[in-house]
């Protein structure tokens, strides 16, 4: 067994959230720069320029890119030969989030009770944590600060196999058409196909964590990504929703095995403030 102090996990979580909230990912920047060159709408180009300038200011001043510093989501892939020492792993993750959001002057946006009192927890915890046990003796942390504005525009459909690729395309495009303007476009669209009622959204979220522009390894799904990109940009929603040719920066699809009787499809939308990072311990 390899021993790993949970304090190291806490520190990794802290570092990830501090960095991702203030520094735009290089792939997102490159993609926004390309969009600024290609956007047809003049107003749209000025919105894209604002976003790039915003990223420069955030990095220079070490302030958050967006005031909604998101809900902390952490995927923990734990090697089965790892033994954690020094306390609770779950509490270490929350500890890292608590410290990052306090030290970085990041906004705390979590309420403890969703329906009745909706009181702010005050430290952006609890984080949403997904654990996975994998072979080996490493611990991989994949974290994202997910804004709610775009999360709210996401959707899940329990489709039929008979709906086919055309049905999937229509559902994804329709989801963006309905809510895209509210999700701070240009957006990134994560699509999860297959699994179950709970796995499809997880696949969609994981799809958002892939570097932009890296296509699915299966050519059929890669083609689907390309078709969806074309059709969504054809909606004309544009930067900030004011009209334009750049609505989506990337469409990323993940798939998994499913039941003979079903085809769950989840669409998870992420705004241009696409904040994530990875550390392997």
């Amino acid at each position: 067994m390899r021993e790993v102090e949970v304090a190291r996990v806490e520190e990794a979580v802290r570092r990830l959230f501090l960095k991702m909230n203030c520094h735009m990912l290089p792939d997102v920047r490159t993609s926004l720069e390309k969009a600024r060159e290609e956007e047809v709408s003049e107003l749209g180009r000025s919105v894209l320029e604002d976003l790039l300038q915003n990223a420069r200011i955030a990095a220079d001043e070490e302030v958050p890119l967006c005031q909604d510093c998101g809900m902390a989501v952490v995927f923990l892939e734990v090697g089965q030969e790892v033994a954690f020492t020094g306390g609770s792993l779950r509490e270490a993750v929350d500890g890292g989030v608590r410290r990052a959001y306090a030290e970085g002057c990041l906004r705390k946006s979590v309420v403890c009770d969703p329906l009745f009192d909706r009181k702010n927890s005050g430290d952006n915890t609890p984080a949403i944590v997904h654990f996975d046990v994998v072979p080996g003796d490493k611990v991989r942390l994949l974290a994202t600060a997910k804004g709610m504005g775009s999360e709210n525009m996401s959707a899940l459909a329990m489709m039929r196999a008979a709906d086919g690729p055309e049905g999937v395309r229509d559902f994804v495009v329709e989801t963006v058409r309905r809510g895209g303007a509210n999700a701070c476009p240009p957006i990134i669209v994560g699509v999860g196909i297959g699994g179950n009622f709970e796995t499809a959204p997880l696949l969609a979220k994981k799809a958002l964590l892939r570097p932009l522009g890296v296509r699915n390894g299966d050519v059929r799904y890669a083609r689907l990504e390309g078709e969806l990109l074309e059709r969504i940009n054809g909606l004309g929603i544009g930067p900030a929703g004011y009209g334009g040719t750049t609505t989506v920066l990337a469409v990323q699809v993940e798939f998994a095995a499913t039941h003979i009787a079903g085809m769950p499809v989840a669409v998870n939308i992420c705004c241009h403030a696409c904040r994530h990072g990875e550390i392997v311990l």
């Binding site: 047809v40 709408s41 003049e42 107003l43 000025s46 919105v47 604002d50 976003l51 300038q53 915003n54 200011i57 955030a58 001043e61 070490e62 302030v63 958050p64 890119l65 967006c66 005031q67 909604d68 510093c69 002057c105 990041l106 906004r107 705390k108 946006s109 909706r118 702010n120 005050g122 504005g149 709210n152 303007a181 509210n182 701070c184 074309e230 059709r231 940009n233 054809g234 909606l235 004309g236 929603i237 544009g238 900030a240 929703g241 004011y242 009209g243 334009g244 040719t245 705004c271 241009h272 403030a273």
Partner: protein
């Protein structure tokens, strides 16, 4: 692109009616932040005949800032999704609210009340929160301190870059903009 029009808040109906959807403006003056929880409380207060902030001719910014880092007036502050405030907005417009700043589409009821009363809805670039914070010169919590980021703040702003998203004549950029660039595939 036409140069942005400079305007000063608070302002009256005449100025509001002179603005058209799609136009860029630079807003200076005094505005108030209020988002979800503050709207609920504000409307409850109005029902009791009270109001913690003036509404006539005022501008409300749908925003909850990040905490200010040391030496700063305010943390990053971009708009939140306006549609969530729709259920409360008609009441505020009836009390004289002149303008709102946010992001995203509004309900038909809100757009109608805006035309009836000569009010305007500005879009601020969603996610450009660090850039927008630079326009804020002063910030003071004036109500609902316990709501943290959702407290009502009075802001003094200079040249806040906005776009007229919906005007007092039924013009709505979110509805009119996309068809100009639509390509059916």
């Amino acid at each position: 692109m036409k140069e942005a029009k400079r305007i000063e808040a608070p302002f009256g109906e005449e100025l509001a009616r002179s603005l058209r959807s799609g136009e860029r403006v630079l807003l200076s003056g005094t505005i108030y932040t209020a988002r979800d929880a503050a709207h609920r409380r504000l409307v409850e207060a109005l029902e009791r005949g009270e109001s913690p902030i003036p509404l006539k001719d005022q501008v409300i910014y749908y925003a909850g800032p990040a905490p200010a880092s040391p030496g700063k007036v305010i943390g990053s502050i971009g708009p939140t999704t306006s549609g969530r405030m729709d259920p409360f907005t008609v009441t505020l417009l009836e009390k004289g609210l002149r303008a709102m700043i946010g992001k995203g589409t509004r309900s038909q009821a809100v757009l109608q009340a805006m035309s009836d009363r000569g009010a305007v809805y500005f879009g601020a670039t969603g996610g450009a929160a660090a850039l927008l914070a630079r326009c804020v010169r002063a910030c003071r919590i004036v109500a609902y301190d316990d709501l943290g980021p959702e407290a009502i703040r009075r802001l003094e702003v200079i040249d806040l870059p906005l776009v007229v998203a919906a005007d007092a004549w039924g013009g709505d950029l979110y509805r009119e903009g996309p068809p100009r660039f639509r390509r059916e595939i």
